[in-house]
């Protein structure tokens, strides 16, 4: 299988501080990649790199075999932990936004038949995440879980090649989080998505992922903590039927908490 996304010997440095070093990866289409690691191990940097918010200091990012520009684009959707939806738009308006941007470059709004078609599409997407009864509701009136559902619908309406999730369920209650796990699994299967999800929760990573990447620093200089960057220390492929060896999960959890 050809890689959808490829990172070739990526380094990310801020001045003296090295965040990521020697990261080489290939992500297959249709995979659900969970990224774990302790705070400051470059998980978020990795996500911003794939998103295009950040350019690597060295190395190359290839999307579909072509070098990717360091700029956000509609081929990569994203859901952040917070601020993923527009507070000034209703649920429907939030999902319509992506369609309107593509079809109305100047007015950025659709009218008449085009708007009705776009609206049908948006309503369908909102129904897929269970928000069909909240079309006219503003995000401020929604619970955290509803806002994240909306953010997912908003991203999926663009049919992104990759969906990036940055600790999307981190701020939610445990019960709601389980609902969201079921939702994202269903959407992943139904839409044939490729997902990269950064999470703090090891259990979540092993439950959802078909592949778990652990970022950590291989080398550590106690006198110069920024001297060495993090890289991929574990790269596990899972099928979602058989659980991973408990010893390995315990080992990883221990490392992350340390």
């Amino acid at each position: 299988m050809t890689a959808l996304l490829e990172l070739r010997d990526i380094w990310v440095e801020y001045g003296d501080k090295i965040v990521l070093e020697r990261v080489s990866l290939q992500l297959a289409e249709g995979s659900f990649v969970a990224v774990v690691g302790p705070s400051g191990a470059g998980k978020s940097t990795f996500l911003r790199l794939v998103l295009g918010q950040e350019a690597p200091t060295r190395g190359q990012v290839l999307l579909d075999g072509r070098p990717m520009r360091a700029e956000c684009g509609p081929d990569r959707g994203v859901v952040f932990q917070r601020y993923s939806v527009f507070p000034h738009l209703t649920a429907l308006g939030n999902v319509l936004f992506g369609i309107e941007c593509a079809q109305a470059p100047v007015a950025a709004r659709l009218f008449g038949a085009k708007r009705r078609a776009a609206r049908d599409l948006a309503v369908e997407m909102l129904a897929a995440v269970g928000l069909e009864h909240s079309l006219g509701v503003y995000p401020a009136q929604m619970s955290g879980g509803m806002q994240q559902r909306l953010a997912i619908a908003q991203a999926l309406v663009k049919h992104p090649r990759i969906l990036l999730l940055d600790e999307p369920f981190g701020a939610l209650d445990p019960g709601i989080r389980l609902d969201m796990h079921a939702l994202i699994t269903r959407l992943w299967q139904e839409h044939g998505l490729t997902i990269v999800m950064v999470t703090h929760d090891i259990g979540e990573a092993f439950k959802l992922g078909t592949r778990v990447l652990a970022f950590d620093k291989r080398r550590h200089d106690p006198h110069a903590p920024h001297r060495f960057g993090a890289t991929v220390t574990y790269d596990l492929s899972l099928d979602r039927k058989n659980p991973p060896p408990p010893a390995l999960v315990a080992d990883l959890s221990g490392r992350l908490l340390a």
């Binding site: 917070r82 527009f86 936004f97 470059p105 950025a108 908003q154």
Partner: protein, 272 residues
């Protein structure tokens, strides 16, 4: 024992508490005025309410010889025209520049320092320049209000747009928005309630600039009238005029708040 900071008055007692200082102040004025008039029946510094009512009756019935309008009406129309136009120019300029500087880093780098410098110039200090360049007519007064308000409003709005969560801009770009769409669909709508907020705050300085300009060179206007009758020590006219100006300011503020609540319910805690 409840702490002082935990005592929250109910609606009725809040109204009562709010009215209390105002009543005390009026009462205090009444007593002071009585005392002065007992001393000197011709006192002009603290006129009685009856004298003020008589003056108010005069300036709401007598006509201004120049415009053949009732004095108060002529003054109010002239002043509101200047203030309204000045504020409108300032608001439009600030909206355009704030949006541009807030969303486009290149524009911010180019124009930001200039706006910052202009914003620290005391506007009344450039009033003589405006009189020389634009003449003593309406243009210089309107320009003073616009120049006095637009720069700091621009800075406020720019700061607001740059302070919007970076996630929103990233998200909009992943949804295919170009720079223009980002500005008019993401930044502009969220800027509007803030613009009204900034306008409400600008009303105070706006009145100051208006009255300053009218005091220096004018032949009609609320500020002109106050400074004209000051020569005759006519406190019985000045005080009702000040009260009228305050009332206009309160009404304008309430109107802007109403527009913001109606137009942008999402910015005031939701609502459909």
């Amino acid at each position: 024992m409840r702490r002082l900071v935990d005592i929250r008055p109910q609606r009725a007692s809040r109204l009562l508490l709010g009215a209390l200082p105002i009543v005390v102040l009026l009462l205090f004025y009444l007593l002071a005025s009585e005392a002065r008039h007992a001393d000197n029946p011709a006192d002009k510094v603290l006129p009685t309410f009856a004298a003020m009512a008589q003056a108010a009756h005069d300036f709401t019935t007598q006509r201004d010889p120049a415009s053949d309008r009732i004095v108060l009406v002529a003054d109010t129309i002239a002043s509101l025209y200047r203030l309204g136009l000045g504020l409108a120019i300032a608001t439009a300029t600030a909206l355009f520049l704030g949006l541009l500087l807030g969303t486009v880093p290149l524009a911010r780098a180019l124009l930001g320092p200039m706006v910052a410098i202009i914003a620290v110039i005391p506007p009344v200090a450039v009033l003589p320049i405006l009189f020389i360049v634009l003449g003593l007519d309406e243009a210089s007064k309107i320009a003073l209000i616009a120049i006095g308000i637009a720069p700091f409003m621009t800075r406020d709005l720019t700061g607001f747009v740059t302070g919007l969560p970076a996630e929103q801009f990233a998200k909009a770009q992943t949804l295919g928005a170009n720079s223009w769409q980002l500005a008019i669909r993401v930044a502009l709508p969220q800027l509007m309630p803030r613009l009204i907020e900034a306008l409400r705050l600008s009303m105070g300085p706006g009145w100051v600039f208006l009255i300053a300009a009218e005091a220096v060179a004018s032949d009609v206007g609320l500020g002109y009238r106050i400074f004209l009758v000051r020569r005759y020590f006519a406190m019985d006219i000045i005080l009702p005029y000040v009260a009228w100006i305050s009332l206009l300011a309160i009404l304008a503020d309430a109107l802007l708040l109403f527009v913001s609540r109606r137009g942008f319910p999402w910015a005031h805690g939701g609502g459909r």
